[in-house]
């Protein structure tokens, strides 16, 4: 059974049909790339799946259950966690504090007006673990807002990992990064998928990355699904080539 299924999903904004007729299924453990030119509807797709706003058409099923008009908090409870195209972290806090509040949220501690030393230790150990996984340990005590763009992206991934996602949505995780940061992020995405088995959808413009790590690729153009397949199929698809060459010109 597929983990995520979209049946003929669409989203209108007034007169603008941002997405229409989107039907796709994502298997558990899959690493799926979503590609397409600017304005194709990739972020809108993430917004629908994560409950930022509901679809105007169609239905979404997650883990066999309908989630079509779920709120963000309800969908997070089911294990759907996302990052944003523009990094959303706690800028004036340190990296440690960023991860700490995420861990406390994941542990269901948010309402506690005091904390015992024992629980604090558990939280802090988990923070260290997350930092190791995303490889930001050396910068734990730096203020997040003072980090490079790439490191801030990494911090956001650390934050969402705290919630042990079943389905992780990454919106352009490597956007605006230098070569080294891009390499680090690509490696991180691959490790999270292969080592931790996290099912992932990621939006990416860099074709080398997409072809390099994605199991399958969904191509959107102008709100519609243009193609779907593995790297070889997509690379050879004339409609994809046309769309990309057309937009590149």
């Amino acid at each position: 059974m597929s983990l995520l299924v979209l049946n003929d999903v669409g989203r209108r904004f007034g007169a603008l049909q941002a997405l229409s007729g989107i039907s796709l299924s994502v298997e558990a453990g899959e690493l799926r790339a979503i590609i397409g030119p600017n304005g194709a509807g990739k972020t809108t797709l993430f917004n629908l799946i994560s409950g930022y706003f509901p679809p105007t058409d169609g239905s979404i099923v997650f883990g066999g259950e309908p989630i079509t008009a779920g709120t963000p908090t309800a969908l997070v409870k089911r294990g759907i966690i996302r990052t944003f195209q523009i990094t959303e972290i706690f800028l004036s806090l340190t990296v440690r504090e960023n991860l700490r509040v995420a861990v406390e949220t994941a542990m269901g501690l948010n309402l506690r007006p005091w904390i015992s030393a024992a629980v604090r230790t558990v939280v802090m150990n988990q923070v260290e673990n997350l930092a190791e996984i995303v490889r930001i340990t050396a910068k734990l005590d730096r203020v997040a807002g003072e980090l490079s763009h790439g490191d801030q992206r990494v911090v956001e991934i650390g934050i969402v990992l705290a919630k042990s996602p079943k389905l992780l949505l990454l919106d352009e995780p490597t956007a605006g990064m230098g070569d080294e940061e891009t390499h680090h992020m690509t490696d991180l995405i691959r490790r999270l998928n292969k080592d931790q088995g996290i099912t992932m959808l990621f939006v990416e413009h860099d074709m080398a990355i997409v072809f390099g790590i994605a199991d399958r690729i969904t191509v959107l153009d102008n709100g519609r699904m243009l193609a779907e397949g593995n790297a070889t199929e997509i690379a050879a698809n004339p409609r994809v080539q046309a769309a990309y060459l057309g937009h590149a010109a």
Partner: protein, 331 residues
Amino acid sequence: MSTDLATETARTAPQARTGMSRRTIGNVVLGVVLLTVPLWLPLVGGYTDLASRVLIYALAAMGLNLLLGFTGGLSFGHAAYFGLGAYGVGLMLKYETHSLFLALGVGTLVGGLAATLLGPIAVRRRGIYFSMITIAIGQMFYFIAIRWNTLTGGYDGLSGFARPKFAGPGHLLSMGPTGMYYLVLAAFAIAALLLWIVLNAPLGHAFVAIRENHKRLTFLGVSTQRYIAISFAISGFIAALAGGLNALLDGFASPNLLNYSMSGDFLIIAVLGGMRNFYGPLAGAVIFVLVRDYVSSVTDNWMSVIGLVFVVSVIFFPMGVLGFFNRKSGS
């Protein structure tokens, strides 16, 4: 990273970082200074009631600042909870009880419960709409106090109550300015300690995270409105306690205590002192009350002087007075 007095970094909820011992020293120094106020204040030309006023305003502004500086919610209506605390204490002492602590408890409860019940309405909106709702709710109580003449004394305010006497050895002891000061100091210390604990706990971390990025927190599954409402309620209880103490200090409750201009005073105090700073409101209250006391003895136009101080300080110390010192002593 922290100064002697400014134990809180400019950015976040208090947390043991590097300056643990300096922080402890800072708290001890502050404690000694506050405990000895009745001894040294007259030497520098002050009087004890003035120090009580400073601490009462600091307490109210500290409560407000949990919402403002640590949760990111700009309330223009906290005078309502301050005022409810004041009227609650006044009415209790006038009609119901001779117990100071019962009166203070009821006053705090009335104001705090009002904030607990009304906060959830305001937090349904964010930003400017949130602020507008807090004003509207606050003014409601102001107009009720003015209209309900028979109970509240209307425009004239509520009088006819005083600090109860205490059972002493063989006779009743009245509570003078010094006793009053130590009562206020005790309330301030307890409230500050509780706030400190909350800010160091997951609840406080959630407040700060909402201030920083409520969208990120929402997409971690946190219902942020609920937490803002909790912050609102706690800050309302503290403001109400401060208001109750204010009524005890004056033996009087004026409807102006409920008015939005009073809310504005608390905001000025918090911002002036440094709203990202745990003790910022205390520093702000010292400046505010001293300027008001000194300038109003020279001219009736003290508010414009406060305004000038405020504008200058916001321009030159955008992080407040303590924020400025924090930065100086930082890297």
